[in-house]
Symmetry: C2
Amino acid sequence: MAQRKSPFRLCSAPAPRPRDAEQTRAEILRAARLLFATRGYANAGMREIARAAGITPALVVRYFGSKRDLFLAAIETDIGLAPFLGPDRATVGRHIARYFFSKPLRDADTLSILLHAAGDPEVRDLATELLNARVIQPLARWLGPPRAEARAALLLAIISGTWLFRQALPMRAFAGGPDAALASCLAAQIQHVVDGLPEP
Amino acid sequence: MAQRKSPFRLCSAPAPRPRDAEQTRAEILRAARLLFATRGYANAGMREIARAAGITPALVVRYFGSKRDLFLAAIETDIGLAPFLGPDRATVGRHIARYFFSKPLRDADTLSILLHAAGDPEVRDLATELLNARVIQPLARWLGPPRAEARAALLLAIISGTWLFRQALPMRAFAGGPDAALASCLAAQIQHVVDGLPEP
DNA sequence: GTTTTTTGTAAACGCCTGTTGACTTCTACC
DNA sequence: GGTAGAAGTCAACAGGCGTTTACAAAAAAC
Protein backbone atom coordinates (compact mmCIF):
# COMPACT_ATOMS: atom_id res chain seq x y z
CA MET A 1 0.00 0.00 0.00
CA ALA A 2 1.47 3.30 -1.04
CA GLN A 3 1.65 5.95 1.63
CA ARG A 4 0.59 9.45 0.86
CA LYS A 5 3.09 11.94 2.07
CA SER A 6 1.72 15.41 1.77
CA PRO A 7 -0.26 17.42 2.45
CA PHE A 8 -2.89 14.97 3.71
CA ARG A 9 -0.81 12.31 5.45
CA LEU A 10 -2.26 9.23 7.02
CA CYS A 11 -1.84 9.08 10.75
CA SER A 12 0.05 5.80 10.66
CA ALA A 13 2.91 7.31 8.68
CA PRO A 14 5.37 9.11 10.98
CA ALA A 15 5.87 12.71 10.00
CA PRO A 16 9.08 13.05 8.00
CA ARG A 17 11.36 15.77 9.24
CA PRO A 18 11.29 18.80 6.92
CA ARG A 19 14.29 18.72 4.64
CA ASP A 20 16.93 20.88 6.23
CA ALA A 21 20.52 20.04 5.38
CA GLU A 22 22.05 22.08 8.16
CA GLN A 23 19.86 20.56 10.83
CA THR A 24 20.35 17.06 9.47
CA ARG A 25 24.10 17.53 9.55
CA ALA A 26 23.89 18.73 13.14
CA GLU A 27 21.69 15.76 14.04
CA ILE A 28 24.19 13.31 12.57
CA LEU A 29 26.99 14.94 14.51
CA ARG A 30 25.00 14.83 17.71
CA ALA A 31 24.21 11.14 17.30
CA ALA A 32 27.78 10.34 16.31
CA ARG A 33 29.25 12.14 19.32
CA LEU A 34 26.88 10.34 21.67
CA LEU A 35 27.60 6.90 20.23
CA PHE A 36 31.34 7.43 19.87
CA ALA A 37 31.44 8.55 23.49
CA THR A 38 29.37 5.67 24.88
CA ARG A 39 30.32 2.74 22.65
CA GLY A 40 33.71 3.70 21.26
CA TYR A 41 34.75 4.12 17.65
CA ALA A 42 34.69 0.50 16.48
CA ASN A 43 31.47 -0.42 18.25
CA ALA A 44 29.54 2.59 16.99
CA GLY A 45 28.31 1.46 13.57
CA MET A 46 27.32 3.72 10.73
CA ARG A 47 23.88 2.12 10.61
CA GLU A 48 23.39 2.74 14.31
CA ILE A 49 24.51 6.36 14.03
CA ALA A 50 22.19 6.86 11.05
CA ARG A 51 19.25 5.30 12.88
CA ALA A 52 19.91 7.50 15.92
CA ALA A 53 19.92 10.53 13.61
CA GLY A 54 16.71 9.38 11.94
CA ILE A 55 18.18 8.91 8.48
CA THR A 56 19.97 6.39 6.25
CA PRO A 57 23.62 5.29 6.49
CA ALA A 58 24.22 6.39 2.91
CA LEU A 59 23.31 9.92 3.87
CA VAL A 60 25.87 9.94 6.65
CA VAL A 61 28.52 9.12 4.08
CA ARG A 62 27.25 11.83 1.77
CA TYR A 63 27.49 14.43 4.52
CA PHE A 64 30.80 13.42 6.08
CA GLY A 65 32.61 11.32 3.47
CA SER A 66 33.58 8.37 5.65
CA LYS A 67 33.35 7.08 9.18
CA ARG A 68 36.81 8.34 9.99
CA ASP A 69 35.98 11.80 8.71
CA LEU A 70 32.84 11.73 10.78
CA PHE A 71 34.97 10.92 13.80
CA LEU A 72 37.27 13.81 12.92
CA ALA A 73 34.28 16.13 12.78
CA ALA A 74 32.96 14.72 16.05
CA ILE A 75 36.09 15.62 17.98
CA GLU A 76 36.41 19.06 16.43
CA THR A 77 34.93 20.68 19.48
CA ASP A 78 36.32 22.27 22.56
CA ILE A 79 37.29 19.85 25.28
CA GLY A 80 35.73 22.12 27.87
CA LEU A 81 38.71 22.40 30.16
CA ALA A 82 39.17 26.14 29.70
CA PRO A 83 36.67 27.23 32.38
CA PHE A 84 38.83 25.59 35.03
CA LEU A 85 42.03 27.28 33.98
CA GLY A 86 41.34 30.64 35.48
CA PRO A 87 43.58 32.77 37.66
CA ASP A 88 42.36 31.05 40.84
CA ARG A 89 44.87 28.24 41.20
CA ALA A 90 44.03 27.42 44.81
CA THR A 91 40.63 25.88 44.15
CA VAL A 92 41.04 24.40 40.68
CA GLY A 93 41.54 20.90 42.10
CA ARG A 94 38.21 21.00 43.84
CA HIS A 95 36.42 22.36 40.77
CA ILE A 96 37.83 19.76 38.40
CA ALA A 97 37.17 16.95 40.86
CA ARG A 98 33.59 18.07 41.36
CA TYR A 99 33.06 18.33 37.61
CA PHE A 100 34.39 14.86 36.91
CA PHE A 101 32.49 13.39 39.84
CA SER A 102 29.26 15.03 38.81
CA LYS A 103 26.64 12.49 37.97
CA PRO A 104 25.98 11.85 35.20
CA LEU A 105 29.02 12.96 33.32
CA ARG A 106 27.98 14.61 30.09
CA ASP A 107 27.48 11.74 27.69
CA ALA A 108 28.80 13.25 24.52
CA ASP A 109 31.87 14.70 26.18
CA THR A 110 34.81 15.04 23.81
CA LEU A 111 37.08 13.62 26.49
CA SER A 112 34.95 10.48 26.63
CA ILE A 113 35.19 10.13 22.86
CA LEU A 114 38.95 10.45 22.90
CA LEU A 115 39.50 8.14 25.87
CA HIS A 116 37.16 5.55 24.36
CA ALA A 117 39.35 5.57 21.24
CA ALA A 118 42.19 4.01 23.22
CA GLY A 119 43.32 0.75 21.71
CA ASP A 120 41.51 1.29 18.45
CA PRO A 121 44.28 1.24 15.86
CA GLU A 122 42.22 3.28 13.41
CA VAL A 123 41.90 6.34 15.61
CA ARG A 124 44.31 5.77 18.48
CA ASP A 125 47.09 7.96 17.16
CA LEU A 126 44.61 10.66 16.29
CA ALA A 127 43.18 10.66 19.80
CA THR A 128 46.66 10.72 21.29
CA GLU A 129 47.68 13.73 19.24
CA LEU A 130 44.49 15.57 20.03
CA LEU A 131 44.75 14.91 23.75
CA ASN A 132 48.26 16.25 23.60
CA ALA A 133 47.31 19.34 21.64
CA ARG A 134 43.99 20.15 23.31
CA VAL A 135 44.55 19.05 26.88
CA ILE A 136 48.16 18.40 27.82
CA GLN A 137 49.68 21.44 26.16
CA PRO A 138 47.14 24.05 27.34
CA LEU A 139 47.24 22.50 30.78
CA ALA A 140 51.02 22.55 30.78
CA ARG A 141 51.07 26.21 29.73
CA TRP A 142 48.68 27.04 32.52
CA LEU A 143 50.54 24.99 35.12
CA GLY A 144 53.91 26.46 34.25
CA PRO A 145 57.30 25.12 35.38
CA PRO A 146 58.68 22.96 36.82
CA ARG A 147 57.99 19.89 34.65
CA ALA A 148 54.85 21.44 33.21
CA GLU A 149 54.16 18.77 30.61
CA ALA A 150 54.77 15.85 32.93
CA ARG A 151 52.51 17.32 35.58
CA ALA A 152 49.82 18.00 33.00
CA ALA A 153 49.96 14.42 31.79
CA LEU A 154 49.80 13.09 35.33
CA LEU A 155 46.80 15.29 36.04
CA LEU A 156 45.03 14.01 32.96
CA ALA A 157 45.90 10.47 33.99
CA ILE A 158 44.21 10.92 37.35
CA ILE A 159 41.12 12.40 35.72
CA SER A 160 41.04 9.66 33.09
CA GLY A 161 41.41 6.91 35.65
CA THR A 162 38.32 8.06 37.47
CA TRP A 163 36.54 8.42 34.14
CA LEU A 164 37.51 4.87 33.26
CA PHE A 165 35.79 3.38 36.28
CA ARG A 166 32.77 5.60 36.08
CA GLN A 167 32.01 5.32 32.37
CA ALA A 168 33.95 2.60 30.59
CA LEU A 169 34.28 -0.06 33.29
CA PRO A 170 31.63 1.11 35.72
CA MET A 171 32.74 -0.02 39.16
CA ARG A 172 30.35 -0.43 42.01
CA ALA A 173 32.45 1.76 44.25
CA PHE A 174 32.19 4.65 41.79
CA ALA A 175 28.59 4.08 40.84
CA GLY A 176 26.98 5.18 44.06
CA GLY A 177 26.80 8.82 43.12
CA PRO A 178 29.19 11.56 44.08
CA ASP A 179 31.11 10.37 47.08
CA ALA A 180 32.17 13.41 49.05
CA ALA A 181 35.21 11.75 50.57
CA LEU A 182 36.36 10.38 47.22
CA ALA A 183 35.83 13.73 45.55
CA SER A 184 37.76 15.58 48.21
CA CYS A 185 40.64 13.13 48.02
CA LEU A 186 40.67 13.45 44.26
CA ALA A 187 40.60 17.20 44.62
CA ALA A 188 43.54 17.08 47.00
CA GLN A 189 45.52 14.93 44.60
CA ILE A 190 44.79 17.17 41.65
CA GLN A 191 45.64 20.21 43.71
CA HIS A 192 48.88 18.52 44.71
CA VAL A 193 49.90 18.22 41.09
CA VAL A 194 48.76 21.76 40.35
CA ASP A 195 50.85 23.16 43.19
CA GLY A 196 53.92 21.31 41.98
CA LEU A 197 55.61 17.99 42.46
CA PRO A 198 57.98 17.14 45.28
CA GLU A 199 61.57 16.74 44.23
CA PRO A 200 62.66 13.10 44.23
CA MET B 1 56.71 -30.21 -5.58
CA ALA B 2 55.89 -32.42 -2.67
CA GLN B 3 57.82 -31.77 0.49
CA ARG B 4 59.31 -34.67 2.36
CA LYS B 5 58.60 -34.43 6.00
CA SER B 6 60.51 -37.07 7.90
CA PRO B 7 63.07 -38.20 8.72
CA PHE B 8 65.16 -36.62 5.95
CA ARG B 9 63.67 -33.14 5.56
CA LEU B 10 64.80 -30.62 2.99
CA CYS B 11 66.33 -27.49 4.43
CA SER B 12 63.82 -25.21 2.69
CA ALA B 13 60.89 -26.73 4.49
CA PRO B 14 60.44 -25.19 7.94
CA ALA B 15 60.47 -27.80 10.63
CA PRO B 16 56.93 -28.45 11.77
CA ARG B 17 56.56 -28.34 15.50
CA PRO B 18 56.22 -31.83 16.93
CA ARG B 19 52.61 -32.59 17.66
CA ASP B 20 52.12 -31.71 21.31
CA ALA B 21 48.63 -30.75 22.30
CA GLU B 22 49.63 -29.31 25.65
CA GLN B 23 52.33 -27.11 24.20
CA THR B 24 50.10 -25.97 21.36
CA ARG B 25 47.42 -25.02 23.83
CA ALA B 26 49.95 -23.05 25.85
CA GLU B 27 51.22 -21.35 22.72
CA ILE B 28 47.71 -20.27 21.74
CA LEU B 29 47.14 -18.89 25.22
CA ARG B 30 50.43 -17.00 25.13
CA ALA B 31 49.65 -15.45 21.75
CA ALA B 32 46.09 -14.61 22.81
CA ARG B 33 47.21 -12.92 26.02
CA LEU B 34 49.77 -10.83 24.16
CA LEU B 35 47.32 -9.73 21.47
CA PHE B 36 44.41 -9.14 23.82
CA ALA B 37 46.70 -7.01 25.96
CA THR B 38 48.16 -4.95 23.12
CA ARG B 39 45.25 -4.66 20.66
CA GLY B 40 42.18 -5.22 22.80
CA TYR B 41 39.50 -7.87 22.45
CA ALA B 42 37.77 -6.70 19.27
CA ASN B 43 40.95 -5.81 17.40
CA ALA B 44 42.70 -9.08 18.16
CA GLY B 45 41.37 -11.40 15.46
CA MET B 46 41.27 -15.16 15.61
CA ARG B 47 43.35 -15.38 12.45
CA GLU B 48 45.98 -13.10 13.94
CA ILE B 49 46.11 -15.07 17.17
CA ALA B 50 46.39 -18.32 15.24
CA ARG B 51 49.17 -16.92 13.06
CA ALA B 52 51.05 -15.71 16.13
CA ALA B 53 50.72 -19.19 17.62
CA GLY B 54 51.89 -20.80 14.38
CA ILE B 55 48.70 -22.70 13.65
CA THR B 56 45.31 -22.37 11.97
CA PRO B 57 42.28 -20.43 13.25
CA ALA B 58 40.17 -23.58 13.18
CA LEU B 59 42.50 -25.16 15.67
CA VAL B 60 42.08 -22.30 18.09
CA VAL B 61 38.35 -22.94 18.04
CA ARG B 62 38.91 -26.65 18.60
CA TYR B 63 41.07 -25.98 21.63
CA PHE B 64 39.07 -23.21 23.26
CA GLY B 65 35.57 -23.43 21.79
CA SER B 66 35.09 -19.77 20.88
CA LYS B 67 36.82 -16.42 20.99
CA ARG B 68 35.00 -15.45 24.14
CA ASP B 69 36.01 -18.68 25.88
CA LEU B 70 39.58 -18.04 24.77
CA PHE B 71 39.34 -14.62 26.39
CA LEU B 72 38.00 -16.24 29.55
CA ALA B 73 40.97 -18.59 29.60
CA ALA B 74 43.35 -15.71 28.92
CA ILE B 75 42.29 -13.78 32.01
CA GLU B 76 42.28 -16.84 34.27
CA THR B 77 45.63 -15.88 35.72
CA ASP B 78 46.76 -14.01 38.74
CA ILE B 79 46.75 -10.26 38.42
CA GLY B 80 50.10 -10.03 40.17
CA LEU B 81 49.12 -7.54 42.82
CA ALA B 82 49.68 -9.87 45.77
CA PRO B 83 53.43 -9.23 46.16
CA PHE B 84 52.72 -5.62 47.03
CA LEU B 85 50.16 -6.37 49.70
CA GLY B 86 52.59 -7.39 52.41
CA PRO B 87 52.70 -6.24 56.00
CA ASP B 88 54.84 -3.21 55.13
CA ARG B 89 52.20 -0.56 54.51
CA ALA B 90 54.55 2.41 54.68
CA THR B 91 56.34 1.74 51.38
CA VAL B 92 53.67 0.05 49.29
CA GLY B 93 52.95 3.26 47.39
CA ARG B 94 56.54 3.52 46.25
CA HIS B 95 56.67 -0.14 45.23
CA ILE B 96 53.47 -0.04 43.22
CA ALA B 97 54.46 3.23 41.55
CA ARG B 98 57.87 1.87 40.63
CA TYR B 99 56.30 -1.29 39.24
CA PHE B 100 53.80 0.56 37.07
CA PHE B 101 56.41 3.05 35.94
CA SER B 102 58.87 0.33 35.06
CA LYS B 103 59.65 0.32 31.38
CA PRO B 104 58.50 -1.65 29.57
CA LEU B 105 55.42 -2.78 31.41
CA ARG B 106 54.90 -6.48 30.93
CA ASP B 107 53.05 -6.80 27.63
CA ALA B 108 50.78 -9.70 28.44
CA ASP B 109 49.78 -8.33 31.82
CA THR B 110 46.32 -9.42 32.87
CA LEU B 111 45.60 -5.88 33.99
CA SER B 112 46.33 -4.64 30.46
CA ILE B 113 43.95 -7.22 29.03
CA LEU B 114 41.17 -6.21 31.38
CA LEU B 115 41.65 -2.47 30.95
CA HIS B 116 41.82 -2.84 27.18
CA ALA B 117 38.43 -4.54 27.33
CA ALA B 118 36.83 -1.26 28.40
CA GLY B 119 34.10 -0.20 26.03
CA ASP B 120 33.86 -3.55 24.31
CA PRO B 121 30.26 -4.63 24.91
CA GLU B 122 31.16 -8.28 24.48
CA VAL B 123 33.58 -8.47 27.39
CA ARG B 124 33.13 -5.23 29.27
CA ASP B 125 30.93 -6.63 32.01
CA LEU B 126 33.21 -9.59 32.39
CA ALA B 127 36.26 -7.36 32.81
CA THR B 128 34.41 -5.18 35.30
CA GLU B 129 33.44 -8.15 37.42
CA LEU B 130 36.92 -9.59 37.35
CA LEU B 131 38.57 -6.31 38.27
CA ASN B 132 36.17 -6.11 41.17
CA ALA B 133 36.81 -9.66 42.33
CA ARG B 134 40.55 -9.86 41.66
CA VAL B 135 41.74 -6.34 42.40
CA ILE B 136 39.26 -4.15 44.20
CA GLN B 137 38.11 -6.68 46.77
CA PRO B 138 41.55 -8.03 47.78
CA LEU B 139 42.86 -4.50 47.83
CA ALA B 140 39.94 -3.37 49.96
CA ARG B 141 40.48 -6.23 52.40
CA TRP B 142 44.12 -5.32 52.66
CA LEU B 143 43.45 -1.60 53.05
CA GLY B 144 40.81 -2.06 55.72
CA PRO B 145 38.40 0.63 56.96
CA PRO B 146 37.42 3.34 56.56
CA ARG B 147 35.80 3.23 53.09
CA ALA B 148 37.94 0.29 52.07
CA GLU B 149 36.22 -0.39 48.74
CA ALA B 150 36.09 3.23 47.66
CA ARG B 151 39.77 3.73 48.46
CA ALA B 152 40.66 0.54 46.60
CA ALA B 153 38.76 1.70 43.55
CA LEU B 154 40.41 5.09 43.67
CA LEU B 155 43.81 3.47 43.94
CA LEU B 156 43.10 1.31 40.92
CA ALA B 157 41.87 4.37 39.06
CA ILE B 158 45.18 6.15 39.64
CA ILE B 159 47.14 3.13 38.49
CA SER B 160 44.92 2.65 35.45
CA GLY B 161 45.17 6.29 34.47
CA THR B 162 48.94 6.05 34.27
CA TRP B 163 48.59 2.76 32.43
CA LEU B 164 46.25 4.41 29.94
CA PHE B 165 48.78 7.03 28.91
CA ARG B 166 51.72 4.66 28.87
CA GLN B 167 50.15 1.78 26.95
CA ALA B 168 46.83 2.58 25.33
CA LEU B 169 47.24 6.25 24.42
CA PRO B 170 51.01 6.61 24.70
CA MET B 171 51.70 10.21 25.66
CA ARG B 172 54.99 11.87 25.01
CA ALA B 173 55.28 12.98 28.61
CA PHE B 174 55.02 9.39 29.82
CA ALA B 175 57.11 7.86 27.08
CA GLY B 176 60.47 9.21 28.16
CA GLY B 177 61.20 6.37 30.50
CA PRO B 178 60.73 6.30 34.25
CA ASP B 179 60.51 9.86 35.42
CA ALA B 180 61.70 9.97 38.98
CA ALA B 181 59.64 13.01 39.90
CA LEU B 182 56.51 11.58 38.33
CA ALA B 183 57.05 8.24 40.02
CA SER B 184 57.58 9.81 43.41
CA CYS B 185 54.48 11.94 43.05
CA LEU B 186 52.49 8.92 41.99
CA ALA B 187 53.92 7.03 44.96
CA ALA B 188 52.89 9.80 47.29
CA GLN B 189 49.37 9.81 45.91
CA ILE B 190 49.02 6.08 46.20
CA GLN B 191 50.43 6.18 49.70
CA HIS B 192 47.96 8.89 50.55
CA VAL B 193 45.07 6.61 49.62
CA VAL B 194 46.66 3.68 51.45
CA ASP B 195 47.04 5.69 54.63
CA GLY B 196 43.42 6.79 54.49
CA LEU B 197 41.35 9.59 53.04
CA PRO B 198 40.79 12.98 54.67
CA GLU B 199 37.30 13.51 55.96
CA PRO B 200 35.30 15.92 53.79
C1' DG C 1 50.81 -54.24 9.53
C1' DT C 2 46.43 -52.47 9.86
C1' DT C 3 43.10 -49.67 12.17
C1' DT C 4 41.73 -45.98 15.17
C1' DT C 5 42.39 -41.76 17.39
C1' DT C 6 44.57 -37.51 17.79
C1' DT C 7 46.44 -33.27 15.68
C1' DG C 8 46.38 -30.40 12.12
C1' DT C 9 44.98 -27.98 7.50
C1' DA C 10 42.02 -25.98 3.67
C1' DA C 11 38.07 -24.04 2.07
C1' DA C 12 33.96 -22.40 2.73
C1' DC C 13 29.66 -20.44 5.31
C1' DG C 14 26.78 -16.84 7.25
C1' DC C 15 26.97 -12.54 9.21
C1' DC C 16 28.19 -7.83 9.80
C1' DT C 17 30.73 -3.78 8.33
C1' DG C 18 31.70 0.66 5.66
C1' DT C 19 30.73 2.23 1.29
C1' DT C 20 28.69 2.88 -3.47
C1' DG C 21 25.54 3.83 -7.34
C1' DA C 22 20.97 3.99 -9.06
C1' DC C 23 16.87 5.54 -7.90
C1' DT C 24 12.90 8.44 -5.79
C1' DT C 25 10.95 12.73 -3.65
C1' DC C 26 10.76 17.12 -2.14
C1' DT C 27 11.96 22.13 -2.77
C1' DA C 28 13.01 26.33 -5.07
C1' DC C 29 13.63 28.91 -8.96
C1' DC C 30 12.32 30.74 -13.86
C1' DG D 1 3.44 25.11 -14.19
C1' DG D 2 7.52 22.96 -15.41
C1' DT D 3 12.10 21.85 -14.34
C1' DA D 4 16.95 21.60 -12.25
C1' DG D 5 19.00 20.32 -8.26
C1' DA D 6 19.17 19.29 -3.51
C1' DA D 7 17.78 15.77 0.07
C1' DG D 8 16.96 11.23 1.08
C1' DT D 9 16.07 6.04 0.33
C1' DC D 10 17.11 1.38 -1.28
C1' DA D 11 19.62 -2.47 -2.53
C1' DA D 12 23.79 -4.16 -3.39
C1' DC D 13 29.05 -4.69 -3.15
C1' DA D 14 33.55 -6.03 -1.42
C1' DG D 15 35.97 -7.34 2.54
C1' DG D 16 36.63 -8.95 7.21
C1' DC D 17 34.94 -11.49 11.05
C1' DG D 18 34.14 -15.93 14.00
C1' DT D 19 32.99 -20.36 13.06
C1' DT D 20 32.09 -24.97 10.69
C1' DT D 21 32.69 -28.82 7.83
C1' DA D 22 35.39 -32.00 5.21
C1' DC D 23 39.53 -33.86 4.76
C1' DA D 24 44.89 -35.15 5.37
C1' DA D 25 48.62 -36.70 8.13
C1' DA D 26 50.96 -38.19 12.16
C1' DA D 27 50.81 -40.99 16.31
C1' DA D 28 49.02 -44.68 18.95
C1' DA D 29 46.55 -48.99 19.66
C1' DC D 30 45.52 -53.41 18.42
